[in-house]
Symmetry: C2
């Protein structure tokens, strides 16, 4: 059993912890907390071992009635590997991981230079094998990698241009904007996403533009792809065959990101999470050699299967196809 | 003096009426109203002659204290030409206009088949000359025509792909959504905008994708243009030289559609209207022969100058350059 520490228990950390509990070859060694917030109480209710960020944090947690199993060094000593889900503090944490000689999965909020390679399971599973530090890329990058790989495999990608309409913040946040505004982010083109995709799909020709809008659920991508073989049926077949991408039909009422998230809730998965990139089937269209489509990305959930697969690739627990199948089965992802 | 009737006094009608009052070669013959809403009272305060939609409407208006100058047929008899600003009821109204033998400027909400040609002043002014029915295209189409014409004039447009991030509704509307959602509109690609642009720029190679987001101010376009001459300075120079397009700089704090609208309010124009398409200078970038940029469109205001110029083109009052100059001067549009 691979003993995995989850450092950071926010949007991603909570989900990775739950996903770890569902794997038969892994064990959740514990999570870390600094403050006695409702996340900490929920973890306690679930019986997850909680390790305090430092001594002051331990006292705060204990005096709030949270049972603390030890401090972060105790967790690291006990664990085989770490998933760093800290809020973009991976660089700062790395020294500590090095001291303890631990392998680490970092998240996409970090610079790509923090790790030896970046990772999307169905694109470059083998690249993470035997590495010490690997970065699971961000939600937007993960979605772009999945769809571009599937299109490249079926009809070949010559060039791609994507406009990312990004949710402003997550549903549990009330501090950030915008309200009633569209924010080019960044104004200077292209956005960083195209370079980030290239850390996984090294030879892809992609340019990205991104804006932020006042929503909390899902990013929406408008994608234009110059394909080598402009055959729509083949492209649709390729997307529908690919793992972790689902085709949503407007004929079944999928008119927006809201209906897609509603569908995900009805699937009965924890938190209503959608691990798959969601492509609108009727949006797929080929015109003058270019394939167009709309795709939705559940920003809180899409990278969860990648974190599990990344652990298996780094440690050699399973090969690509076995790991993806095992992860999919555990999370309820099917075609 | 060209006597102009404005049929419909909503978002566009109110603005066209005010713009007409500023022209030295035109006279606002009157507007039409069906209900005694605050628009009707504002028109009364401004001394604008109000004509009732029918006898029942006349009684409703009069009993609310609105002075009524007559019925719609009275307005049409007195006028030389009509600007139809009805809420997509142009087709229904057209029979009446035909009976009275009146020329008509229709708006972009109508099908292009309602008129003999479509119109954007700086693109095809001459095409409307001596026509009986002309359609000023929609706000999004007007913005796309202006920018693509300017790029084509400077560096040549080979192909263009635009993603339109559309405001959900106008600021005075509280009925429509979406809230916290991104709506592909339509899901089936491409959107109608590319075909609509071709009613003005007949030979342009353009594909458009559109989504609706929860904002009320400005559409934002993410534009990718394969240019014949990939020289950024030349493209920027072309855009900055073109009329009715302004370059906004992120270095001056233009970080979103909100700052652009705030800037427009500071200009002191009526209603804080921005008649120009607003292009972020720092977004303009050439990569592998493709020019990328972000552009904002004030949906309530951008077509107002076109309506005035269209009247002049149809009636032969002025040539293209004189009319555009006269309209710009009257509305405070300068470079």
């Amino acid at each position: 059993m691979l003993k995995v520490a989850v450092n950071g228990y926010g949007t991603i950390g909570r989900r990775v912890a739950d996903a770890l509990e569902l794997q038969s070859d892994m064990e959740l060694a514990g999570i870390t907390k600094w403050t006695p917030d409702y996340y900490a109480f929920l973890a306690t209710q679930k019986g997850i071992p909680i390790f305090a960020g430092d001594e002051a944090a331990r006292q705060k947690l204990v005096s709030s009635g949270i049972k603390v199993a030890g401090l972060v060094p105790d967790l690291l000593s006990y664990s085989d590997i770490v998933v760093d889900c800290s809020p973009e503090k991976g660089e700062q944490n790395r020294k500590m991981y090095e001291e303890f000689g631990k392998r680490v999965v970092f998240q996409g909020g970090e610079e790509s230079s923090i790790a030896e390679c970046s990772f999307v399971a169905q694109c470059n599973f083998e690249e993470a094998h035997d590495r010490k530090y690997v970065r699971v890329v961000s939600c937007n990058t993960t979605g772009l990698c999945r769809i571009l790989k599937s299109i490249d495999d079926s009809v070949g990608v010559e060039k791609a241009i994507a406009t990312l309409v990004r949710r402003a913040t997550d549903p549990n946040d009330t501090k950030k904007g915008p309200i009633d505004s569209v924010v080019p982010d960044p104004v200077e083109l292209p956005s960083h996403h195209s370079e980030d995709v290239k850390t996984v799909l090294h030879d892809i020709n992609l340019t990205t533009m991104a804006v932020k809008v006042p929503t909390t659920h899902m990013h929406l991508h408008a994608l234009a792809v110059k394909v080598r073989e402009p055959v729509l049926e083949k492209a649709i077949e390729g997307v529908s065959r690919a793992t972790r991408i689902i085709l949503m039909s407007s004929k079944q009422g999928h008119s927006s990101t809201s209906t897609v998230m509603d569908y995900a809730r009805e699937l009965g998965r924890p938190r209503g999470d959608l691990y798959e990139a969601a492509v609108w089937r009727e949006s797929m269209k080929i015109e003058e050699g270019w394939l167009y489509l709309f795709m939705g990305i559940h920003q809180e959930a899409i990278v969860i299967p990648e974190n599990i697969d990344c652990l298996r690739s780094m440690t050699g627990l399973m090969d690509s196809s076995s790991s993806i199948q095992a992860t999919n089965r555990s999370l309820g992802i099917s075609k």
